[in-house]
Amino acid sequence: MATQHSRSAARLMMAPAVVLLLGWMLVPLTMTVYFSFKKYLPLRGGDLGWAGFDNYVRFVTSSAFWPSVMTTLIIVGGVLAITVILGIGLAILLNQPMWGQGMVRILVIAPFFVMPTVSALVWKNMFMDPNYGLLAHLWEFFGATPVQWLSQASLTSIVIIVSWQWLPFATLILLTAIQSLDREQLEAAEMDGAPASKRFAFITLPHLGRAITVVILIQTIFLLSIFAEIYVTTGGAFGTKTLTYLIFQRVLESQNVGLGSAGGVYAIILANIVAIFLMRIVGKNLDA
């Protein structure tokens, strides 16, 4: 009887969160799907009737689509490669005995707390500016011609900026995982004469497997939708228009809502494919 009572109380306590999230998910989603089947131009006539799958076809056949997919893949892939590889290296380094470990940790984590618009602007102006940027001075010091970072090496620049933001996240999670590694196992392997490279490949790396997967999945979800870093640096010019940015431009800048919404549906599907894998891992770990 008491359990019955507490069960219904529990349901009642869960209700606000569940209802809000359900509304947050369903209402905009339904609207996006609805608009995606419409010819809808708020500034040029408004709702011009049903369009069938026209928007879906036009979105993928427009000349901007494939370049934006490539840009997205390069940015996501580049940042993932850099942050995971450097993150493993840093995690191993930070796990060694040293003086001032806590302080170094704080230094390494700091970029994660910098708001995206600040990091993008600081990098763009104070480091990558071809005249006054610090990198230009560095290049000149070595007698090289300064690089026009954000116009000539635009994708590389964005990858550098975003990697700097996400390296702390990867490092912190991999460090946490590495700290749970059984030290005795490593020491035993060392006693048996296994060289450092083998100890890394056969003990450390397999142990980190799951943490690496989690880092890749979570970062992919966030990286697919990076926005501010492009908004304040190139505004989508010089080949830095990602899928997210293309949809943003279609929807808010050119106010072609039907077309943008079709793009939005593609983005949602893409994110869900990644999400399914992440949920599997998280779900396995949940002993509810």
Binding site: A17, L20, L21, P28, L107, M115, F127, V214
Partner: protein, 276 residues
């Protein structure tokens, strides 16, 4: 002999780690240093690292120029409001899932997490339109609600993880002693849960403070927080390095400090307990 080797190794480790740490931190350090230079010293060639005349002029200029106080206030209201609202809604939900689990608890938790995966740009126009319809475009209340909703799954998850660690026997004992549901929550659970709630709030203030998709797209003059304030330095003011640096330093300083306190909770919070 062996001791010598370990000491030598420790020195190498320490040097390498500090070098890498300082390199990663350098852009932030450089921004802070530049904020105390004059504009001329900020673009000096070769660059000046420490040997400049320290000045507070830039901070004064930024504060005078741009209603910095209002942007700061908006950030505080949006980050603080969305976090408090989120906690109020999430605490009962997480409590019931942790202490009265049912067969569907796991599914509900995973489903909540899945709403976090919804790409913002996919629902940009509907949200934009709804804000116009309700007359809350460029208002703090809209952002409080939206940021609360996007962070709610993380709040529920983190709280759930903390609540799970509170032994259920304590609640049973309280129930035996005749405590009502209200008493349980108020006098037994809350004191034990406060550390978990505090660190959940901390992480969410950080996430909301730095959120830069909705804050850039749904605000203009009235409700813009610091993310948008900094974006307005994009050009041409961005080339006044010293002022840009002062503005940036003021925007990131509070969160850097909070962030350093929260680094322990960060991992389990951001990986939904998948890495502990």
């Amino acid at each position: 002999m062996a001791r010598n080797v370990t000491n030598k190794r420790k020195i190498i480790n320490t040097t390498a780690a500090w070098a890498v740490g300082l390199l990663i931190f350098f852009p932030i350090l450089w921004t802070i240093l530049t904020s105390f230079k004059t504009e001329a010293q900020a673009i000096a060639d070769p660059p000046i690292f420490l040997g400049f005349d320290w000045t507070l002029e830039n901070y004064k200029a930024v504060l005078e120029r741009s209603n910095y106080g209002r942007f700061l206030w908006n950030s505080i209201i949006i980050a603080g409001g969305s976090t408090i609202l989120g906690i109020i809604i999430a605490v009962p939900a997480a409590w019931s899932m942790a202490f009265v689990p049912s067969k569907r608890t796991k599914d509900i938790l995973l489903w909540m997490l899945s709403t976090k995966m919804l790409p913002a740009v996919g629902v940009l126009y509907p949200i934009y339109l709804l804000c116009i319809r309700f007359g809350i475009l460029d208002s703090k209340i809209a952002l409080v609600f939206i940021l609360m909703l996007i962070n709610l799954p993380i709040i529920v998850w983190m709280l759930y993880t903390y609540f799970k660690e509170i032994p259920g026997e304590i609640l049973e004992a309280a129930r035996m002693d005749g405590a009502s549901l209200k008493d349980e929550v108020l006098y037994v659970l809350t004191p034990m849960a406060i550390p978990g709630i505090a660190s959940t709030m901390l992480l969410n203030v950080i996430l909301a403070w730095n959120e830069a998709f909705w804050t850039l797209n749904l605000t203009a003059a009235k409700a813009a927080p610091l993310t948008a304030f900094i974006a307005s330095y994009s050009s041409p003011e961005g080339l006044f390095y010293a002022k840009l640096s002062a503005a940036s330093t003021m925007a990131i300083a509070p969160i850097l400090i909070l962030g350093w306190f929260s680094q322990k909770q960060l991992v389990s919070g951001l990986t939904f307990g998948a890495v502990k």
